[in-house]
Symmetry: C2
Subunit: 490 residues, 2 copies
């Protein structure tokens, strides 16, 4: 029955005689969006089958640090002494996720964020009510809460009351175990799904969607161990196969700045679900948006000054390092240098860090700023003026230019060094299928495609341009649940 060559084009249900598999709801991809969808579809009474391309569940989520961006007054925020509200969270995200972020989606997410936290806890995801306040990409231990979006740094301090919203599931001891926060998110979700009778099939690569004559999606064609199999979805199909960060052609078409530099992604993130749905006329959104990491430890960043290729500062160094990454890649042509004196460098090296491999040595070390400027190849006088202005303010405890917090201001002395960060960024794509708040995939006509739902990084999410760590696992699990519920309704 399967034709020898599968393509991404939809197959007609009329051509399919016997289905190899059947379920009410078929979920493609067993990462966090797929797991959340499976749980909710099963709870709604659907018989659920998850198709996973690799040999096991987890996806990119299980390998991630595990942050979920949640707020509005979660029990963890309260236990750690932070006040927050849905409105305050929305005000921050409006400023930090745009331009172009979807107001309705942000409001939806913020309003229901505490409920989503409770849902995760109800599935068995453990959160420890302890706050980690050091600069870093993630906590080195098992603390459950951290600033992960620059909420407590300029300019966002002027827009919303700072509250940390990076919630990380309590991990096993990293020094002895191998399981991080992402695993501790995925394991309970998959266990919950299994306890609800969710079935899963591995080594299943989805190829194309199957549609009725009226356009309704009623199944998928997949390849299992190289052989084509057909999977009937009696109520709906949920696409949750991740981003297109590893599809070089799509990256070149849509997000060329991260070409050749995928990060925090898995190779399976090849955009397949996006392509399959586009072949049905599905619409896209925010395809140029990407998360961007900069590969240096925030313990160093905060103690130095970041300058661009013109020797100018451009970002408060005590902000979220992902914001530093985005501003570097998109606004500074991927050219950045961290200027830091020997004393501050040494101090940073002695601080706790979850990413000690990013505590990097200086590329250059000189006795004077003039000498360093010359060694770095910066325009004559540029770095000298920048350091002079910074030091002048730092001596008074002020950063008039970028408002780094006084606790991090200290004049830069000698010997002075710099870490070359040119090209030291990478990231994953944030754009994808356009969906409704009920996770229905939207056709370019503006109408939902019957029977087709999606969540996770194969869809556009909360971030249209900016980012905060935890947004992806956050909106993927949140809208994964919606997708499962919607698909179960059929």
């Amino acid at each position: 029955m399967p034709s020898p060559s599968t393509t991404i084009r939809p197959r007609s249900a009329a051509e399919i005689g016997n289905w190899d598999y059947e379920a009410d709801v078929v979920v493609a991809g067993y990462g966090v969006a797929g797991a959340a969808a499976a749980v909710e579809a099963a709870r709604a009474g659907a018989d659920v089958l998850v198709l996973e391309r690799t040999g096991g569940w987890g996806g990119a989520a299980a390998l991630a640090g595990g942050f979920l961006y949640l707020g509005g007054g979660t029990p963890i925020q309260k236990a750690c002494g932070f006040e927050d509200s849905a409105e305050n969270m929305h005000a921050f995200l409006r400023a930090a996720m745009g331009p172009g972020a979807d107001e309705n989606r942000l409001a939806d997410y913020c309003t229901n964020s505490v409920e989503h936290f409770e849902w995760l806890v109800g599935c068995g995801v453990p959160f420890k009510p302890s706050f980690y306040g050091e600069p870093g990409w993630e906590p080195p231990g098992d603390d459950g809460l951290m600033y992960t979006g620059g909420e407590n740094a300029y300019p966002f301090t002027r827009i919303a009351t700072p509250a940390p919203r990076g919630h990380v599931p309590q991990m096993l001891d990293k020094r002895t175990g191998e399981k991080g926060g992402g695993y501790m998110l995925m394991k309970p979700l998959v266990d919950t799904a299994a306890s609800l009778g969710v079935r899963s099939a591995y080594d299943m690569r989805v190829q194309c969607l199957v549609i009725e004559a009226d356009g309704r999606v009623v199944g998928v064609v997949a390849k299992q161990y190289g052989k084509e199999v057909t999977v009937r979805a009696r109520r709906g199909v949920v696409l949750a196969t991740g981003s297109f960060a590893y599809n070089e052609e799509m990256v070149a078409q849509y997000a060329p700045r991260i070409n050749g530099r995928p990060a925090a992604s898995v190779e399976e993130h090849d955009g397949q679900a996006i392509r399959m749905a586009q072949a049905l006329g599905a619409d896209l959104a925010h395809m140029d948006a990407t998360e961007v990491a900069i590969f240096v430890d925030p313990q160093l960043i905060v103690r130095g000054i970041l300058v661009n290729g013109r020797g100018q500062r451009y970002v408060a160094e005590d902000t979220y390092p992902g914001r530093v990454g985005q501003l570097t890649l998109y606004q500074q042509d991927n050219e950045a240098f961290l200027v830091i004196d020997a004393e501050a460098h040494e101090e940073a090296m002695g601080r706790p860090s979850a990413t000690p491999e990013l505590l990097r040595p200086p590329t250059w070390v000189c006795e004077s700023v003039a000498e360093l400027e010359h060694e770095m190849g910066l325009p004559s006088g540029s770095l000298q003026a920048t350091v002079a202005a910074y030091n002048d303010g730092a001596a008074r405890g002020e950063d008039a230019l970028l408002h780094k917090k006084p606790e991090w201001l200290r004049p830069i002395g000698s010997p002075i060094g710099a870490i070359d960060l040119r090209g030291h960024t990478g990231g994953f794509t944030l754009g994808g299928l356009r969906t409704t708040l009920d996770a229905e995939v939207v056709h370019v006509s503006g109408e939902p495609i019957p029977g087709l739902f999606a969540a996770g990084r194969s869809t556009f999410g909360l971030a249209a341009w900016g980012y905060a760590s935890g947004i992806s696992l956050g909106d993927s699990s949140f809208y994964g649940r919606r997708a499962g519920r919607s698909a179960a309704k059929g």
Copy 2:
């Protein structure tokens, strides 16, 4: 026969009894891409019908300044004393149109640029062999050649030998007539098409494509005077209806930074052709790319210094003003100020300009830089350091930071003013349907969609991110020809 509600979804040819119109090649849109397609399809022996939504031909092209970006040694370049080659042109475009510009497309365009110039001349488009060397958006008179991409400014001077490539058709006297370069491009093309027997129908809004059971495009459905009509295309359909700059929803999804600020566009640029083809599974590319104008005369820009919201310079002020616009919108959060002293301002006001309405007065005037910095609300010390460094170099004829050419360097004196340019940008979208070099529309499967061709701003073009004036009329006419030839082959 027509159903009461038309949608963007493809219609089946089997449902259509009698076609209201028929031709070998049906072209949607009578702007520059459509006109070029019509001419070449007719020359290839096809019976051609052009459907235009408005009451007459012209599109955005007829209202434009009329630049065509051409080079590699055109007769106009040679007559004006400039050397150029396809390789040199390619080297410039590679640096200026990216990141993400398509190497093969750039090579194709550069290699065939002189031939394309000859083709335009052969259609009767007049070019005067005279060079306009003043800063400006376009020549105030009828000069035929100008720098329109920053080829003669940093950083491109270090990448390719400067050559002007903005070719503008010789216009009627602007002071007496109303017809600019764009009209003088369109009129001869439309006359040529008419002489070849090309038919046209007006007030025809294309609604959706018509396909055979095998997916081949065989026609379009349009609305004419509010009534649905069907148009059969025996060999092929060419989509050439322009950009999506006026489709607010699409702009929000794909290019949110220009939301609410369309420029150099017509209201008909609503993305209809893109949507119609997406509904068939057509792929897209570079949807976030936009041209960006900054609304101030280059005679002013070049005589001052541009600073961002941190009081820092970020672009050589003697470059192409569209580059200033792009860097301002994308890299400086749409915050820019032009700092200029009274003497330079007065001098600029007395210079020739094609856009005298952009010779704007200063927003603030002060006696000292410190006072101006305060009035502008810039960080304390920031503008003072910037002006001091600029003046120091200018006194020596050097701009170490951005390499503005010595002829434009003069210390900024007192009284000193600034023009507030925050938010003073606008533009049009450069992304669209993905096409082959033969202007076939590409399905997400990677295969061309049979019978469907496209050119102009409903397709992605040469510019993936950067821009130069003339790129749009250039690649629209160039690939419009390809579309016409490909469609005539069927």
